[in-house]
Symmetry: C2
Subunit: 145 residues, 2 copies
C-alpha cells in the first residue's frame, strides 16, 4: 500500500503542502498589494484588530492574533515609528500600554483593507464564491477545535 504509485501519493495532495503553499501565496499577494502603503501582511492583521473594537492593550492584540506578546513588541515598534499607531499608558493599569490607530493609521488601514481584498480575491479567483465561503468556514471549524 505504501509502495504503490497511485496519484494519492503525490505530495501535492498532502494537506500540509496545500495549507503551506496557499498561505505562502496569499502572503506574497498581500505583501505586494500593501507595499505602497509601507506595511506588510503581518502589520495588516494588527491594524485590523485595532481598527475595530475597543482600544486594546498590547497583550490583548497579540492574543487576538494568536501571536506571542514578545513578537508584538517589534511589530508595534515598527508601526509606531511609521506614525500608524500610538502607545499610551493605560490609566487604569500602568503595566499596560493601550495601542490605538492614529488618524494617519486609520487612513492607512482603509486603503489597506481595499488592497487586501484585491489580494484575497486574486487568490480565490480560481474557485467559486461558494467554495471560497466553504473554505473559510471549514478552516474556522478546524481552529475552533
Amino acid at each position: 500500500m505504501s509502495t504503490d504509485n497511485s496519484a494519492a501519493a503525490d505530495p501535492r495532495d498532502l494537506l500540509g503542502y496545500l495549507l503551506k503553499h496557499a498561505h505562502l501565496r496569499l502572503t506574497a499577494l498581500t505583501d505586494a498589494a500593501l507595499e505602497h502603503l509601507g506595511i506588510d501582511s503581518k502589520d495588516f492583521g494588527t491594524l485590523r484588530v485595532l481598527a475595530h473594537g475597543e482600544p486594546a492593550s498590547q497583550l490583548q492584540v497579540a492574543q487576538k492574533l494568536s501571536v506571542d506578546r514578545t513578537t508584538m513588541v517589534a511589530v508595534l515598534d515598527d508601526l509606531e515609528r511609521k506614525g500608524i499607531v500610538v502607545r499610551r499608558p493605560d490609566p487604569t493599569d500602568r503595566r499596560r500600554n493601550i495601542v490605538e490607530l492614529t488618524d494617519q493609521g486609520r487612513r492607512t488601514f482603509d486603503a489597506a483593507e481595499a488592497a487586501y481584498q484585491d489580494a484575497e480575491n486574486a487568490l480565490l479567483a480560481p474557485v467559486s464564491p461558494g467554495a471560497a465561503d466553504q473554505l473559510r468556514r471549514t478552516l474556522r471549524d478546524l481552529l475552533e477545535h
Copy 2:
C-alpha cells in the same frame, strides 16, 4: 465601513490567519506523531516523494515539493545521516545525485504514513469527511492557478 464593529472585521476571519494557523496546527500534530520515528513534518514530504514514483534527482524532489534546491541539501544531509535515504551519482548525468530510500527508509516511511494520517485525522476531526474533501479540492484548485 472600515470603522464599524461588525463581526466581519474579526481578525480570525482573515483568510491569511486561518491558513497560517491551520498549517501551524497540522505541523505541530504531525511533528508530534512522527517524533518517535526520528523525523519531522518536512522530512515526511520528502519521504513521500521518494516512496512513490521513479528515482529522482535532488532538484526533481525539490521541485515536486516546491522548495528551493538549496533547502533540499540540508534535508537530505539529515536523512542520509539517519540512514533513511542514500545519494548516488546519476550515471547518465554526473551533475546529478539520484536520491533513494534505503530499506530502513522504506520501513520508516511506512510507519510515518500511518502516523501522519493520524495527525491529519486529528486536525480534521471537527469537520465532516465531505468538508475535508472539499477543503483539499479547493486548496488544490487555488494552487493550480
